[in-house]
Amino acid sequence: MDTFMLARLQFAANISFHILFPTITIALCWFLVFFHLRHRATRGTPQAAGWEQAYYFWTKVFALTFALGVVSGITMSFQFGTNWPGYMERAGNIAGPLLGYEVLTAFFLEATFLGIMLFGRGRVSERVHLVATLMVALGTTLSAFWILSLNSWMQTPAGYEIIDGQFHAVDWWAIVFNPSFPYRLGHKLLASALTAGFLIAGVSAWQLLKGTATEGTRKALRTAVTAVAVVIPLQIFMGDLHGLNTLEHQPAKIAAIEGIWHTERGAPLTLFGLPNEKEGRTDYALQIPKAASLVLAHDANAELKGLNEFPGAHPPVAPVFWGFRVMVGVGMLMLAVAWWGAFTLYRRRGRDASTWPRPLLWTLVGMTFSGWVATLAGWYVTEIGRQPYLVYGLLKTADAVAPHPPAMLMGTLVAYLTVYVLLLAAYIGVIKYMAEHSTMPTPAVRPPAPQPQIQTL
């Protein structure tokens, strides 16, 4: 393999590993804020202990997940310079401030208040502790805001001018709120809610099945199932809007997603098939006539541009085509499972979640990491779908790569992959272990808190 392909694989490996963890923590922290608020609201009632258990257990998961997100994120920031120096050389005037604002407004906020959120109990008042939790949640969400703004700008650049091959900022408002940004941000935040929700639901279901559930488990399960049942239809709607936006700005990506090889009126919707890029057709295609035109343009006879319109400037078809189908497939599965759970919750309201049908609990266990699958598939669609460009239509990916010897890239890639596979196994193994051995410190063994409390910020 050549340097270019290896550098791309290395970036893909790093960012794929990284995104697994922020996708959980962005929303998980808002779940923690919710548990915290419920705990405050129910203080003095028997409910309070359950909310505290939920907060306690999921804080531990959050800490672990956040640590993995932070360290894999440091890798990302260096990758820009080590492997893709041409990106900052050409687009640094735009990308720089956006990345800078992410570090300044988000990274320090979340990393600093995380210490207080995790270990501040007994050292700060409960209100300050709630504020710290809120600050971490705000930080993770702000981080998503800035990085998705930059990512969206690379997909749908706006507010710039090019002088001597370099991008210069003309209108920062147009850069930050570029055409695809609102849709991408919404899509990503909802994806995070689904990923964290299914993780909580799956782990809680596992605890119920294994007999290690506490009142906190049941509260977490109910919260998560309710959340995903509400979020999944919103996500499907948001995904549709995002797709329409992509059709407007990146028709080549849509053509690859749908497997439309030639511009046609009344394009059929291909459900499945084997994209054959060499011959320019989809083999064994299972199609619904005119449906693609209907879905994408809301007109059965509308003309859709095919890949033939973008010679040498469209993405490889197969990964985009398949990525999209995996994402949508998992989304549909989420809809079914979430509503099954919500229906059960409604039918058995007031009763213990341990009485939930075992098939439902097992299905939830199976869906524990479904958010990861959908998230990765979706990112592959949008990022591979941007190829061969780094900044869509303006800067080619191949023009930004650093000329390292392939052997060195291969060696480091293997090292990264080895570490990532081991860490992923350890992460899942430890979550399983914590689910089965979750012990809430009882009031008797809780460490005393002799420190004077700091009451105000």
Partner: protein
């Protein structure tokens, strides 16, 4: 640089911000890396206290590295490729080290007990590898990525020195955060690395002007030499203060253990200013100046605005966090 305009001043300001962020990183993550390096020499119970003493801080400490490299990327796009491409391998090694130690920190208390020893080893090993790689990067950077035997030897020298300096900084941190046996052990560890580190620092100071004519020309001229003399003298004074505290248990018991930490911070700060003076106005020595490497002025203004607005707030809440966790370390617990 004839006159000071926004276009000439901003790159300098960003060079200063980048340098100070990296200095903050070296001092802050330096002590927690140092604690990691010292971990294998402690008993299991002491290991828990050591990790607890850095628990609330390490995450934010590492963020300074992200800020430092972030400023390099965003303010100096014409230098970042040269610097980071030349450092490709040590950067990768450092990143793997940081990844491993960062996650080991969390895994060690959450995994089953039988795995705890393994995660402890990964935590210590990752910390050491990170420090070695950073030392190598610094050494290679100072020589302008000189790719010959002397360049390599110089980088290797700093690679071996930085972990010792971090270990001493970590020992200083433990003198403040630990009590009893662990505190005494920290002083003993400090004594063990003190002389090797001191001699290595002297060797590096002698070698730097030898490998770089630019540095030689900047230091060994009159009257600059006299103006610069306080830097090595203050370093020597800090060294003797550290040595005295480490060798006198009653000074530590009387609550002056912080002098070790403070002395090391002083040495790092002075070394930083010495380095900054040596390199100015280059961002890659003898090759690229800060002005040649900088982003467009209008983009720098936007970032400078962000820095001016957020950095004071960051410093305030960082101080708040250190105040919350002031005092001796206790075993950490999660919860409401």
């Amino acid at each position: 640089m004839e006159q000071l305009t926004l276009a000439t001043a901003l790159p300098l300001a960003f060079m200063a911000i980048m340098g100070l962020a990296l200095l903050a990183y070296v001092v802050l993550d330096g002590y927690d890396l140092g604690v990691g390096i010292l971990l294998p020499f402690a008993t299991d119970a002491e290991k828990d206290v050591m990790v607890s003493s850095i628990g609330p801080f390490w995450d934010a400490n590492e963020t300074w590295l992200v800020l430092g490299v972030g400023v390099l990327l965003v303010a100096f796009p014409m230098a970042q490729g040269v610097v980071l491409s030349a450092l490709y391998l040590p950067v990768t090694v450092m990143l793997l080290g940081l990844v491993l130690r960062g996650v080991a920190f969390d895994f060690r208390v959450k995994a089953r007990d039988a795995h705890k020893a393994t995660w402890n080893r990964i935590f210590a090993g990752g910390s050491l590898v990170t420090a070695l790689a950073q030392g190598w990067m610094l050494g290679a950077y100072v020589t302008g990525f000189q790719d010959d035997l002397w360049g390599w030897l110089f980088a290797a020298g700093i690679a071996l020195t930085l972990p010792a300096a971090y270990a001493l900084l970590g020992a200083g941190w433990l003198l403040m955060k630990a009590e009893g046996d662990l505190q005494r052990k920290a002083a003993a560890w400090g004594r063990r690395v003190l002389w090797p580190m001191g001699l290595a620092l002297v060797a590096i100071s002698v070698a730097t002007p030898l490998v770089s004519a630019t540095v030689r020309a900047k230091w060994f001229v009159l009257p600059e030499l006299f103006v610069l003399l306080p830097i090595p003298l203050a370093c020597a004074a800090a060294f003797w203060a550290i040595r005295h505290v480490l060798r006198t248990p009653r000074v530590v018991e009387a609550g002056y253990g912080w002098i070790v930490f403070g002395g090391m911070v002083l040495i790092f700060v002075l070394a930083f200013f010495g380095l900054a003076y040596s390199l100015y106005p280059y961002i890659v020595i003898d090759r690229i100046t800060v002005w040649q490497a900088a982003s467009a002025t209008e983009s720098l203004v936007v970032i400078a605005l962000g820095v001016a607005l957020t950095l004071p707030v960051i410093i305030v809440y960082t101080i708040f966090m250190y105040r919350v966790f002031w005092g001796k370390a206790r075993t950490l617990t999660y919860g409401l």
